[in-house]
């Protein structure tokens, strides 16, 4: 009986000792619950669509962070993984008629292969060289796609009319959001593990990491593959959600966009890039297009101004990112976390900023 009671109370104890002790963990839990329960409040297709796309891009941005934020291998061509997986999934579905549950993992595997193709030549490069060289891969592929209008990838038009994730948007929503939460958790666990520690060490000082007996080449390749895998899952979901894929999944803009989202949220946190997407993507979609755009018939000068603002959405987006980064150069989430948390000087655990003593070892916090 006691054992049973222990099993029942264990989750609650975990909740209290691991999640409610830190404000950002509580916030993450609340946001996850809110997202999961959202269709109860509203099932409007447009809002669900924006949230689904945001969750897909959140996974994509977090995968960039795993490679570039944690391991320090700044990747300017992250759209490669997304695009390769999306095209692979779409082609498998169109030509072989396979269902999304088969094509998405296979697309992700194709992205892993792409990760190897990029990783192996680029491992000899460092820092800025690596960043500029990775830029080349998606653009080379983009040129090939454009140059073959009648080929497998259908050139500029892209592949359309493949199977949807699900006929019902709510079901698609319940595929995308739990995938995001699960993949985010997996990535966070990876960065928290020994592998994550090695990734971190490679970013801070690769020579020292190698001197400590770490085969840094192997770990960098692992980072490319893991990041490719997760970005690939996002790419496959994207293709099947939109029932198609076009050259925009390989473009320079997407590669830059993912870096903007990630840096806006704060790199090397996993949570930061996801939060960055979940804030910025719905912001640009809803606030500017839907609500401000919908008010255009009113004659008030403020509304007119806001309507003009919604037309210049990329401009607003860039200015917003610029302003936030000028005041919080490390990104929004990192800045918020630094304001609300202190690290215990003795056991290096995170504590709420307003605690006087560490929650575990009771050392004085300064």
């Amino acid at each position: 009986m006691n054992a049973l009671a222990a099993y029942v109370t264990k989750p609650f104890k975990l909740l209290r000792s691991e999640i409610f002790v830190l404000p950002w963990r509580t916030a993450v839990l609340l946001v996850c619950l809110l997202l999961l329960l959202f269709p109860v409040i509203s099932r409007e297709p447009f809002i669900l669509r924006v949230l689904i796309l945001a969750s897909i891009f959140a996974v994509f941005a977090a995968s960039w962070d795993l490679l570039s934020g944690f391991t320090g291998q700044i990747n300017f061509g992250h759209a490669l993984f997304f695009g390769v997986a999306a095209y692979t999934a779409a082609i498998l579905n169109r030509d072989l008629g396979w269902a999304p549950w088969a094509t998405i993992p296979l697309g992700a595997l194709a992205a892993v292969l792409a990760g190897l193709v990029v990783g192996i030549p680029c491992l000899r490069l460092r820092g800025t060289y690596l960043a500029f060289a990775t830029l080349a891969f998606p653009l080379i592929l983009l040129g090939v796609v454009y140059a073959n209008p009648g080929g497998m990838t259908e050139g500029e038009l892209g592949i359309y009319g493949i199977a949807s994730l699900s006929e019902s948007r709510v079901v698609s929503y319940y595929v995308a959001i739990p995938s995001m939460i699960a993949l985010g958790f997996v990535m966070w666990k990876i960065t928290d593990s020994k592998i994550g520690l090695i990734f971190h060490a490679i970013r801070e000082d690769e020579v020292t990491a190698r001197a400590s007996g770490v085969n840094t080449t192997r770990y960098k390749l692992l980072a490319f593959c893991l990041s490719g895998l997760i970005a690939g899952i996002a790419g496959g979901l994207y293709a099947h959600f939109l029932k198609g894929v076009g050259p925009s999944t390989l473009e320079l803009l997407l590669s830059f966009q993912v870096i903007i989202w990630a840096v806006f949220g704060g790199i090397a946190t996993i949570l930061g890039p996801m939060a960055g997407v979940l804030i910025l993507y719905p912001f640009t979609e809803f606030v500017l297009i839907r609500y401000l755009g919908g008010l255009s018939d009113s004659s008030s000068p403020i509304i007119t101004f806001l309507t003009e603002l919604s037309q210049a959405r990329l401009l607003v987006f860039a200015c917003l990112v610029l302003l936030v980064l000028l005041f919080m150069p490390q990104g929004l989430i990192t800045w918020l976390r630094d304001k609300t948390e202190k690290v215990c000087p003795r056991c290096k655990l995170q504590n709420v900023a307003w605690r006087r003593k560490c929650r575990v070892c009771t050392a004085e916090l300064d």
Partner: protein, 290 residues
């Protein structure tokens, strides 16, 4: 066909060389990868367009005005924006991308998305060894060569040039030798943006202007500086020649060349760095640790 490749290849290489040298300079001195570099080039071209068309100024006056305005805007953006975030490498990248996007959107709002063109500075064409060359193309080439020589002389022969090179080699030691490092960085930024603005002035009469015209040269100059070696002026020049010609050979030889020109140029870059990871003339920077 071969003559077309040579003429267009040389013009494209010259413009890329000017852009790449400027980009490479500010990267070498201040370690700032300025992704808005080609946005300033576009801004200069559009300013010339608006000054000649809307304000009705003489083309030469508007070119000089445009170069001055763009240099001031670029230096101010460095002073007000980039300098505040430069310790964070990733943030610097995003801030410069954001600046490029802001310039692009501002141009889109001001001039619309349709292609525009600027009158040529000198009209007509002439025959050289049986090849018809536009006078404007000859002028572009001449100015490019003149500017590259001038930049080289500035860096090698003048006191400021020596100070800039010293700062690029080692900030701390340059500082200890009494060089005003922040001032040198400002100066380098001004020279770099100035070169971009002149490149913009040179292409304005040759190419059509669109608000998206900054993306392709940006990709090309990133490839060029990697190919030639970051921080090497000679490398930037040779990289520009290699990729400028690679692009034009593809365009004139293949039917689908226009789509594949970037792919082929980038593939050439990848092959070179596979063989020589530090680029053709790469200066191996002492990685700044800690």
């Amino acid at each position: 066909m071969a003559e077309n490749i040579i003429v267009y290849g040389l013009v494209a290489s010259g413009v890329y060389a000017l852009l790449a040298v400027g980009f490479s300079l500010i990267f070498g001195v201040a370690r700032i990868a300025n992704l808005s570099h080609t946005a300033f080039y576009m801004l200069a071209a559009y300013l010339i367009y608006s000054l000649t068309r809307s304000a009705g100024l003489n083309i030469y006056v508007s070119i000089i005005l445009a170069i001055v305005i763009v240099t001031v805007v670029g230096t101010m953006s460095y002073r007000l924006l980039i300098i505040r975030v430069r310790q964070h490498q990733a943030t610097t990248l995003i801030v410069t991308i954001a600046m490029a996007v802001i310039i692009q959107e501002a141009i889109l709002k001001g001039f619309g998305g349709q292609p525009q063109s600027v009158p040529k500075m000198i009209s007509g064409s002439r025959e050289i060894f049986g090849v018809t060359v536009l006078n404007q193309q000859l002028l572009t080439l001449g100015v490019v060569i003149l500017l590259l020589v001038a930049t080289w002389a500035f860096l090698m022969k003048t006191k400021s040039g020596v100070a800039i090179r010293a700062t690029a080699q080692d900030r701390e030691v340059a500082n200890l030798m009494g060089i005003d490092v922040p001032r040198m960085e400002m100066l380098t930024m001004a020279v770099s943006v100035g070169l971009a603005a002149i490149a913009g002035a040179l292409v304005a009469p040759l190419f059509v202007l669109t608000p998206g015209m900054w993306a392709h040269p940006l990709v090309m100059i990133l490839a060029i500086v990697v190919l030639g070696g970051l921080g090497s002026l000679k490398g930037s020049l040779i990289g520009a020649l290699v990729l400028g010609f690679a692009e034009n050979v593809v365009v004139f030889w293949w039917e689908e060349g226009a789509y594949l020109k970037t792919s082929v140029a980038l593939a050439v870059m990848l092959v070179v760095i596979l063989i020589k990871p530090e680029g053709l003339f790469g200066v191996v920077f002492e990685e700044e640790r800690g």
